[in-house]
Symmetry: C3
Subunit: 204 residues, 3 copies
């Protein structure tokens, strides 16, 4: 059972990284960056959330420097977007879909790692949120734009909720963290997808 | 005596955090962020200066992750600004006042902590400056604006001076650091308040 | 022989730091920053690449806090630019020249340091790139501009190539790292200078 959950998480994680990487690459192409700049933006979009989390919890050098998957996927995403922009743009809706899956997974994985490093529950939730939304913030800042999460879309709220479900659940039933990881990710990604589909906004 | 000084410093510290948190929340409301985005901006404005300082001096996980005051005050500031913007806007002058107090206190507290971690005097002054102005820089960068401190206002100079007074004083009379902390904070906050009141500018 | 190479590297390093510092100071003057803001921008432009690298490889407190050269050169660059902007502007071509030399040197020095801290070859190349381009990215972000490296100029590519030459060479002939450092720096700086001189662009 756990084996299946892990495989499922790994597959979604890779799709999530790829979705964030594609979002970075597309932003780069829109700003006329060259191929190296596009790959750098792509890498930042899919790794900066986890990177800042790792610096804050003191896990140095960060996970990113011990893995090649984000880099490999960024190069793939960068090259694909550079040479086939119109085709990649056509799958923007699938990208939003994977981005939503990635958001949920990054949020629970980030919160889970923070707890494992002895961070308090409240801050573990916030570090989960940061892991989910950090890459997009850095990507937008690089392009001198106000990050999406500050522009009234339901993006940070689902990530916060997903991380909260994991941290609350794991605090009460530490043995069942896989269940709450899955549940948190589903709630976060589900809410984000519903918000995208029905064009929900929270407004004053 | 020290007890009174500490209580005084704690009260000003909390008012300073609240002032920075309110400045972040108001910036978020102006950019139409949702409530979670507003609280995130609020938290960044009141914590990022100390956060970058802690990463640089190697105090990981940073102080922020071991405290709940900045988070609590950010939520308060975020909710208050979100639901009562016009009333919060009306106390903008008091906010500038607490921001000036917070600037002075953050500058001396930051420099003091850097010295305690064995950082050289020159860099302790600069880390004090960073602690004071860092949150505002990150807040403005998040909103794709040129940070206030780069736009000709007398903001960085008082912070630099306050940190310098503490570091110079503490280097010569280590026993009397409370005196120089108070003196540095008063000089910094006083200069900033005079600059606000008389609309001073340093111009080429 | 090594003595001459080291002296050569030190001289170029100082000229590189000065060039990055001048680029930061000029950007600050253009945005009407006050003198403290200008010096801060100057310092960020010449130090943030190495700073982020040091945080990522876990070398805390970072090199920057143990050195006074970048700070001293930033103050010199800031004051010179503030008081003699038109004269500094007139030597903009020499600044581009030193910036290109600095780029090459920072890229190989950064990659070399990452390898010394046990970072994998692939990430050592990327940390070399980051050391070279990081300061300029932060400088431009501070001023709410899209960083130069994302705007189609041949800037990141030479830095990547220079770092790659060092890492590949040092991996195969560890004894001859000085040779590959020099070679990587020459290739990077040379390519950048040729791109500047002939106004090369990589375009889709």
């Amino acid at each position: 059972m756990h084996y299946h959950v892990d495989t499922f998480i790994n597959v979604i994680n890779i799709l999530g990284i790829l979705a964030f990487a594609l979002s970075g690459a597309m932003a780069g192409v829109k700003k006329d960056a060259d191929i190296v700049g596009i790959i750098i933006l792509s890498l930042m979009a899919c790794s900066c959330g986890g990177l800042v989390r790792d610096v804050m919890i003191g896990d140095l050098p960060p996970e990113l420097l011990r893995s090649t998957i984000p880099l490999f996927l960024s190069i793939v995403a960068g090259l694909a977007t550079y040479f086939f922009y119109s085709r990649v743009d056509r799958i923007r809706h699938p990208i939003d879909f994977f981005d939503a899956l990635g958001l949920g997974l990054f949020a629970v994985v980030g919160a889970n790692k923070a707890m494992a490093f002895g961070i308090s529950p409240v801050w573990s939730v916030l570090l989960g949120l940061l892991t989910g939304v950090g890459g997009g913030i850095v990507r937008d800042m690089m392009l001198a734009q106000v990050p999406t999460i500050f522009k009234s879309e339901i993006y940070a709220t689902p990530a916060l909720l997903g991380a909260l479900i994991l941290v609350a659940g794991k605090s009460i039933w530490p043995e069942e963290s896989h269940v709450f990881m899955t549940l948190g990710a589903i709630v976060c990604s589900g809410l984000r997808l519903l918000a995208l589909h029905y064009n929900w906004h929270i407004r004053r």
